[in-house]
């Protein structure tokens, strides 16, 4: 499916979803409450059939007080790709896990949990991935401070 047709199908089936601008790929954004049913449909609908979750990560929009979560999907059956964006508030960063749909999300979500502190509802094994279990803070947050950090030389 080309980008236009893909967006049309998606927005018809999920009215809360919108096209996300300012990206170089086909992308939609959806509220976090609608994320799980949307993702299930993306995987199961035969016209969409996104069978490969290439990547999942987050962006810390400190000034706006939210984390933006990004899911990067590809379908080896149809050869189309899609990026899904959603936002969670910084003071209550709770998102549903998609590891039931794509098992690779287990570890991608653990990485985001480790480095951003986003919590995944119903995740079966939510542990830090790279840092020690007793590490304080989440380094990829924009307001993270640590004794060994230096300011960029001007």
């Amino acid at each position: 499916m080309d980008a236009e047709a893909l967006l049309e199908v998606l927005i018809a089936s999920e009215p809360a979803a919108r096209k996300r601008d300012k990206t170089n790929r086909t992308a939609i954004q959806a509220p976090v409450e609608n994320l799980l049913p949307l993702m299930k449909r993306l995987r199961q609908d035969e016209r969409l059939a996104f069978d490969l979750l290439l990547d999942h990560t987050a962006i810390d929009w400190l000034a706006e007080g939210r984390f933006e979560l990004v899911y990067n999907l590809y379908s080896t059956i149809h050869g189309h790709s899609l990026m899904v964006f959603t936002s969670v508030p910084r003071d209550n960063p709770l998102a549903p896990t998609v590891s039931e749909i794509w098992p690779t999300a287990h570890w991608q979500e653990r990485e985001v949990f480790d480095l951003f502190g986003v919590l995944y509802d119903d995740h079966p094994d939510l542990r830090r991935l790279f840092l020690d279990d007793d590490w304080k803070g989440n380094p990829l947050r924009k307001d993270y401070q640590d004794d060994s950090m230096l300011a960029r030389p001007q």
Partner: protein, 387 residues
């Protein structure tokens, strides 16, 4: 709402009551972080029953340098230096992946000369990486001769790189907007000689190792990865293709000059260790085909389209670019706020990070010695997992 944060200690803590000292008991053993098979610092926590692996818990992070955090305060040209240090055996392809994403986002158009040289260099590196992997797999399974052969032949490609680039491992050669230097005058002659040499030597590899009965016993029907499972676990590259899924970005989403050359995507039929082994051997042959078609057809032109000191600014937005490295899909996710000459956020979707987790599905039920074969057939580069 059920968010439960766990720790590794919780999982590996022994049960309070063991039945009796004589009964069969499962136990945890650390394999790594320092272990010859890991080729870097990877820790696997194994749940064993005798010598049978029941569960594998990878605990990465020993080479975590915070590349993504560092990159937030560096300019795009400076970040290229960091990409060398992720998958160091695909350094040129990592450079290229970042450069390609920055060029796409910043609207920088390169010329055919730059793209052809990039493609040539990337394929040379793929050959070099696969040859090293072949030798290392031999060593892991007890055939040290293969390791010595591989290092001898890898050296020839290392010299070709050194002529042009001056470096052998951390290349930093492909930059946003072009290349650091033009190719060495001897480049074409040496690459042609290499193609002829490698064609004969690959046959020798087959007689030396591929046809060996012990190697076949150690690899055939071990660690079978079905296509559905490979996709669900996010595997890419030769690992996914060996399971029979023909997903290769050089065909699926051509970049460089891959759309102008003829080559075949190598796929396996069973997805066992042997298929992953032979897929890579066959990929070397395909890369040689690409090199052969391009080496006499490097178009003229400048090797840099931007001024070297030029500060690259990217308009506000989120951009994603990807590339097929020797191990799979390397994605670069780049977010710019449109104000600074540094990224607001950069994320690398590294192939090894996703390929690593296949081991949790493949190893259970096999012996420790088979785990070695499985891990070796996944061709992991640890710094790329941790970043």
């Amino acid at each position: 709402m059920t968010v439960r944060i766990r720790t590794l200690e919780e999982i590996v803590r022994p049960p309070q009551t063991a039945d009796s000292p004589f009964s069969t008991q499962e136990y945890f053993v650390n394999m790594g972080p320092q272990h010859p098979i890991a080729h870097g610092s990877l820790r696997l926590v194994l749940l064993l029953d005798g010598e049978t692996v029941r569960r594998v818990i990878p605990a990465p992070g020993y080479v975590h340098r915070g590349i993504e955090k560092m990159a937030e305060s560096l300019t795009y040209r400076q970040i290229v230096h960091l990409t060398d240090r992720m998958d160091y055996l695909s350094a040129l392809m990592n450079n290229w992946a970042l450069s390609k994403t920055v060029e796409e986002a910043g609207g920088i158009a390169t010329n055919p000369r730059i793209e052809t040289i990039r493609t040539l260099m990337a394929e040379l590196q793929r050959v070099q990486s696969h040859i090293l992997w072949w030798g290392v797999l031999g060593m892991d399974l007890g055939a040290f001769t293969a390791f010595l052969y591989a290092f001898r032949d890898r050296e020839i490609i290392g010299e070709i790189f050194e002529d042009t680039i001056g470096a052998r491992l951390t290349m930093n050669y492909i930059q946003p907007g072009g290349l650091m230097f033009d190719v060495h005058p001897d480049f074409a002659r040496k690459v042609k000689k290499l193609i002829v040499y490698l064609r004969t030597i690959l046959d020798e590899y087959d007689t030396l190792l591929s046809g060996n009965a012990i190697l076949q016993e150690r690899l055939r029907n071990i660690g079978v990865l079905t296509p559905e499972k490979a996709l669900a676990l996010g595997c890419t590259g030769p690992v996914l293709r060996a399971s029979g899924v023909p997903y290769d970005l050089r065909k699926a989403e051509p970049y460089g000059v891959y759309d102008q050359v003829e080559f075949d995507v190598v796929i396996g039929s069973r997805g066992d260790c042997w298929d992953r082994y032979y897929a890579r051997i066959e990929e070397i042959r395909q890369s040689l085909r690409i090199l052969e078609q391009l080496i006499d057809n490097i178009p003229p032109g400048p090797t840099m389209v931007t001024k070297f000191a030029e500060r690259i600014k990217i308009p506000e937005g989120a951009y994603y670019g990807q590339m097929e490295t020797a191990r799979g899909v390397l994605g670069v996710f780049l977010v710019s706020d449109g104000r600074a000459d540094t990224p607001y956020r950069i994320h690398f979707r590294s192939p090894n990070f996703n390929n690593l987790w296949a081991i949790t599905a493949l190893a259970p039920g096999w012996r420790i010695a088979d785990l070695i074969a499985i891990q070796s057939s996944l061709d992991l580069v640890i710094p790329d997992i941790d970043r």
